[in-house]
């Protein structure tokens, strides 16, 4: 009888043991996102914003503390679905820092006389009577906060996922709220909604690629587990159509998220149309999360095939760097210019993926953090330069900004210098680390190409500095709005980190280096 029961138990579903501490950061963020939805439902309108702010920042900070408390752990958690290791913890920590900075920008309510940067009611038709009425009442779309938290939760999952399905779930949790957030700008709403629509359509298209690729890899390996796929690759080294196709399609999905050429075209339109704070969040955090996932998939699952995918990555990296910097040369809109700059940065980061060595992981992680803080700072500055119709993003209206607002223009200059990779800024160290990894990984010529691309990039970053400091201001030019402390703190933090990471990078490089081994 007992034996019988035992045999039966062997066949039934066995509850996997889950160490909740290891996935606590993700659970906290997603759980609080649900609470945040409940807040929308039950808290009176006047109090919602403040409650949401407290909830969001507390959640992000607690999650960060939890990530720190996990430091040093190396394990596959939740029955192998989630990897808690150096890269995932470093990336989660970076993500949460960047998310806090982005949330500060999102929370800004002092620069637009009508309220925050989001439409009073997203469902009111642009230009309609309803819209005017809602604006007059001073309503705010506090739904952005649960969306924001869900997106962060998805990102946290995306960088730790150790199986293709979890990765896909993370990808979708990250992306869906962003599609909505992109369409909620208070000003230039049609542009914003168009951006959201494009982002959604193309994002869905790319998710299809990713999912189809995952299915094919499952077909090849019989498992969605990254380690299992690696084993299958090693066991069956010969040609296999499913493997090749799966690898290609998964790569396409990831290339889309990091905005690599030719999967980049959504980026300028979406960056330009979205509320600037959301743009900063996308540019910094989505890129970080997507590169985290890409590094894990390409290193852990497909590392054995690196000789197959590296040439293809070379092509994509070169295309991405050059298309990014060359189109950026003739941009006249600050946000579009930053979008192309972000595309070019994706190209530089691809070198770290191609390197397929430990320096590549450490270098990429440092680069992502350095790029992220400067990006959020830069978009923070963009949100302050305004005229009567909202943000003045046309470069010509930035003329002479340095003379009128030397501090703001100075901060923007530092961010641009960091993007350009000028020494004593974080960007330089990041580029240096990634290029070094590239050379060590046998991609010396690619690094040469990257250096040429960086040289071209200096031109358009420098051009903005020249416009700000060495041209005469326009008579009816935009003004720099004095923000509340939310934006001020975000910009100051971006500035401080950009400089600190540039001058004393060693502790951070050490940390990234120590955290550069994937568990499988």
């Amino acid at each position: 009888m007992i034996q019988l029961l035992g045999a039966a138990a062997n066949q039934t579903f066995e509850m996997p043991s889950i160490d909740y501490h290891q996935i606590a950061p993700i659970l906290v963020v997603l759980g609080m996102a649900v609470v945040s939805v409940l807040v929308e439902a039950f808290v009176p309108r006047e109090a919602r914003r403040n409650v949401q702010l407290v909830l969001t920042f507390a959640t992000l900070i607690v999650a960060f503390i939890l990530v720190v408390s996990l430091a040093g752990q190396r394990a596959l958690a939740a029955a192998g679905a989630v990897a808690v290791d150096g890269p995932s913890l470093f990336l989660q920590g970076s993500l949460l820092i960047l998310a806090i900075m982005a949330a500060l920008l999102v929370a800004e309510k002092g620069v637009d006389s009508a309220g925050d940067a989001f439409a009073a009611r997203a469902n009111a038709l642009p230009g309609s009577v309803d819209e005017r009425e809602f604006t007059k009442r001073g309503w705010l779309t506090t739904e952005i906060w649960p969306l924001f938290l869900f997106s962060v939760g998805g990102m946290l999952l995306f960088v730790t996922g150790s199986d293709l399905l979890i990765l896909f779930v993370g990808l979708e949790i990250m992306s869906l709220p962003l599609y909505l957030l992109a369409g909620m700008a208070r000003r230039r709403r049609l542009l914003s909604q168009e951006a959201a629509m494009k982002y959604f359509l193309l994002g869905a298209f790319s998710s299809g690629f990713f999912l189809y690729g995952a299915a094919m890899l499952y077909g090849f390996a019989g498992t969605v587990d990254l380690g299992g796929i690696a084993d299958a690759v090693n066991a069956n080294a010969g040609q296999n159509g499913l493997l090749i196709a799966g690898m290609a399609l998964i790569s396409v999905g990831l290339f889309f998220k990091v905005a690599a050429v030719p999967f980049h075209q959504w980026a300028p339109d979406v960056y330009q149309g979205s509320p600037t704070s959301i743009t900063s969040f996308m540019a910094a955090c989505v890129k970080l999360a997507a590169f985290g996932a890409m590094l894990r998939i390409m290193y852990v699952a497909l590392g054995g095939l690196r000789w197959d995918w590296r040439p293809m990555f070379w092509v994509i990296a070169i295309l991405t760097m050059f298309v990014g910097v060359i189109i950026a040369l003739t941009q006249t809109d600050v946000k579009r210019m930053l979008a192309y700059s972000s595309i070019a940065h994706a190209g530089f980061l691809l070198i770290a993926v191609i390197a397929t060595n430990e320096q590549g992981i450490g270098g990429a992680m440092f680069y992502l953090l350095a790029y992220g803080v400067a990006t959020i700072g830069a978009f923070g500055v963009v949100s302050l330069v305004r005229d009567s119709t909202g943000e003045a993003t046309h470069l010509s209206s930035w003329a002479g900004l340095g003379k009128r607002s030397p501090w703001v223009a100075g901060a923007f200059t530092i961010f641009l210098l960091s993007f350009a990779g000028i020494p004593l800024t974080a960007g330089f160290i990041g580029k240096f680390a990634v290029f070094e990894a590239g050379v060590a990984g046998g991609a010396g010529w690619l690094v040469v190409v990257a250096v040429i691309a960086s040289a071209i990039a200096v031109f358009f970053y420098g051009r903005v500095i020249v416009i700000m400091f060495f041209t005469e201001p326009q008579a009816d030019g935009p003004t720099v709005v004095i923000p509340s402390s939310f934006t001020a703190i975000a910009i100051a933090a971006g500035l401080a980190l950009t400089i600190v990471l540039g001058i004393i990078p060693q502790p951070f490089l050490d940390l990234a280096e120590k955290a550069s081994i994937f568990v499988r």
């Binding site: 193309l202 298209f205 790319s206 290609a248 030719p262 075209q265 300028p268 000789w307 995918w309 060359i326």
Partner: protein, 653 residues
């Protein structure tokens, strides 16, 4: 006073024979106890500078007092360190405080720390003590300046940078202080930047100093390549085994650096123009900071120069040339501050000369530096006091008979005057005569130059003193009522005057014992007794002073006479230092830049512009792909996917 008393006590307590000591240190112990607070030396003045600069107008009221407190605080810390050091046996005195690992990348290691030993503590005490007095004096001197707060912030920055320079434990960190001193001097010389002359002078000081800085950076690079280290122990302990040619180059590059900061030939030209700064700044630059940095650098790098007689000889020659150069310029200047500046150049020449003599001279270079710090600060503050009383008049031809109306300034200045001439028992007598003796011991020509220099010094200083304080008044119409300065100004002068009198015999003998473990020391052997030497130099001093007194006691023309000897004309033009720079460096430099610009325009720019135009055109064409239609974006993604698959299959087959 503290300094001299305690130095005197060293003589009593020390059992070490001061004769012929080899330097033994450069393996400093780790700082413990009170020494572990040596960072306060830098932190206090830096805090002062930062608070006053960042705090802005809010600190206007109490800022200057705070700056003074910070500077005095640094002196107190320095004094405590010194007293602590006194209690230790000579070889345990050097201590090192590790602060921070700046860069640790493979072979390149740059730990940053502070090193305090017998040499640096002398500088610390001099800088903080004289610096604090100048801070206090400035309270009176800058009383009505609207930017007083900024001035004090820069003074604090100057002191902090100089302290960093002398307490650094590696050449790299020393370089940071070196540049900080350059920056602070730039800010202070150009403090009244609304005057074009001041702005130009500041720029000139900065540019000339850059030439020297290049020397220092090359020297540091050479050290790193040769020794794989830039710390003092790492470089100096291995200098003896270094390749002589490399050592010579390092030595020459260090000398170039020293020439820039210490205004030595051929980089002397900035010093005279630097008088455009407020007078306390001149006192600070000339007595406690800046110009002493070059002497410090050479004495600190003694082991390198020990390994290369060539570089050492060049040091000596440069010192001798500058000594005469400055003295001759000093004779012809009618501007009281410029005359004093010429004398500084000359006196620093003495120190560099002494440093170029090797172990027989190092301690005397420092000895003279200390006494000079006292009497030159004293005289500059005195000159400032005169200017203050005379409505900012600088022309000595419009002074005269000031001894009656400015009694205190007259007395304090006279102490400085007697000290710099080397009249016994004033301070300069002990230090300068030692240098002359040591110079004769090494090379009689250099000795003769040093001796002659003493005579000329007496001439120009007496000229200055006579024209200013004695004779008939030649005051301008608007200057009929000169007055003595307030007590906040004359008390620092009085303290410095007292030290100008006593510092010499207090320190004589003691300083050799004190410094010998760091710098090494050898007794000079002379053919004649030192008494003869002293008599000779005293005789020359008396002759020089008498000639000057008789010539300038009465009948000083109000306008400088035009029909004068060619040497006077040359001296009035700073011995054509500027003209030389212009002809030899500036014009070829301009020619070079012009031709480079020409080449750049035609060749490089053509290429660059061509590439830029091509890229711009490409960019314009490529951005058309960005149509704005989601369907074409999706098509592009599909194309990309095909590309990715094709690439993978291509590689596979």
């Amino acid at each position: 006073m503290n300094l001299t008393q305690t130095f005197a006590s060293v003589v009593a307590s020390s059992q070490i024979d001061a004769n012929n000591i080899e330097p033994t240190v450069n393996n400093p112990a780790v700082a413990t106890g009170a020494f572990s607070y040596m960072w306060l030396l830098l932190a206090l003045p830096l805090l002062g500078a930062a608070l006053l600069l960042i705090g802005g107008k809010r600190t206007d009221k109490w800022g200057p007092y705070f700056a003074i407190a910070m500077s005095c605080g640094a002196f107190v810390v320095g004094a405590i360190m010194y007293l602590k050091m006194l209690g230790l046996p000579a070889n345990d005195r050097p201590v090192n405080l590790h602060i921070w690992d700046w860069v640790i990348v493979g072979r390149f290691q740059a730990p940053l720390g502070m090193q305090l030993d017998q040499l640096s503590i002398v500088f610390v005490l001099l800088i903080t003590f004289v610096g604090s007095l100048i801070h206090i004096y400035s309270l009176g001197y800058m009383k009505h300046d609207p930017e007083k707060r900024k001035f004090f912030a820069y003074l604090n920055l100057f002191v902090a940078a100089m302290l960093l320079l002398v307490t650094a434990d590696s050449y790299l960190l020393l370089y940071v202080g070196w540049e900080g001193v350059g920056l602070a001097s730039y800010l202070l010389i150009g403090f009244w930047m609304y005057k074009p002359t001041a702005a130009t002078a500041a720029k000139k000081a900065f540019v000339v100093n850059r030439v020297g800085d290049v020397g220092l950076s090359i020297a540091i690079m050479l050290m790193f390549v040769t020794f794989g280290s830039v710390t003092f122990p790492g470089v100096l302990n291995n200098a003896a085994e270094g390749n002589p040619t490399t050592m010579t180059w390092i030595g020459l590059m260090l000398l170039l650096a020293a020439c820039g900061k210490s205004a030595q030939f051929p980089l002397q030209s900035w010093l005279l123009d630097a008088m455009e700064g407020p007078t306390p700044v001149s006192a600070l630059i000339h007595a406690a900071t800046m110009v002493t940095a070059g002497v410090y650098l050479i004495v600190r790098s003694g082991p390198i120069f020990d390994a290369t007689p060539t570089a050492r000889t060049v040091v000596m020659i440069v010192g001798a040339i500058t000594l005469m150069f400055g003295a001759i310029i000093g004779c012809a200047k009618d501007d009281i501050k410029k005359a004093l500046a010429g004398s500084t150049m000359s006196q620093i020449g003495y120190m560099i000369l002494a440093a170029g003599l090797g172990p027989v001279g190092y301690v005397f270079a420092i000895f003279h530096l200390v006494t000079h710090g006292f009497f030159k600060a004293n005289m500059f503050l005195g000159a400032g006091s005169v200017m203050h009383g005379m409505n900012d008049q600088l022309d000595m031809r419009r002074f005269g008979a000031l001894r009656k109306v400015m009694v205190i300034t007259f007395i304090t200045f006279s102490c400085g005057w007697l000290a710099i001439m080397g009249v016994p028992p004033f301070a300069g007598f002990y230090s300068k005569d030692k240098i002359i003796e040591a110079a004769f011991g090494v090379n009689w020509i250099v000795g003769a130059v040093a001796l002659l220099g003493a005579g000329i010094t007496a001439f120009y200083m007496t000229r200055l003193w006579t024209m200013t304080f004695t004779g008939k008044s030649r005051w301008t119409e608007d200057n009929k009522h000169p007055h003595e300065s307030s007590s906040v100004m004359w008390i620092p002068m009085a303290i410095l005057a007292f030290l100008s009198v006593v510092a010499g015999f207090m320190l004589a003998g003691a300083i050799e014992t004190w410094l010998a473990p760091v710098t090494g020391f050898e007794e000079t052997e002379l053919a004649v007794s030192s008494l003869v030497m002293e008599a000779a130099s005293l005789a020359l001093v008396i002759i020089g002073a008498t000639i000057a007194y008789l010539q300038y006691r009465r009948d000083v023309p109000l306008v400088a006479p035009q029909h004068v000897s060619p040497l006077t004309v040359a001296a009035r033009h700073d011995l054509y230092g500027d003209a030389f720079n212009e002809e030899v460096f500036m014009r070829p430099g301009q020619w070079l830049t012009r031709s480079l610009v020409f080449f750049d325009n035609r060749g490089i720019d053509g290429l660059v512009n061509g590439i830029a135009a091509a890229l711009g055109g490409l960019s314009g064409r490529m951005r058309r792909i960005q149509t704005g239609f989601a369907r074409s974006y999706a098509l592009s993604m599909l194309g990309g996917a095909v590309l990715v698959i094709a690439a993978l299959i291509l590689v596979r087959t």
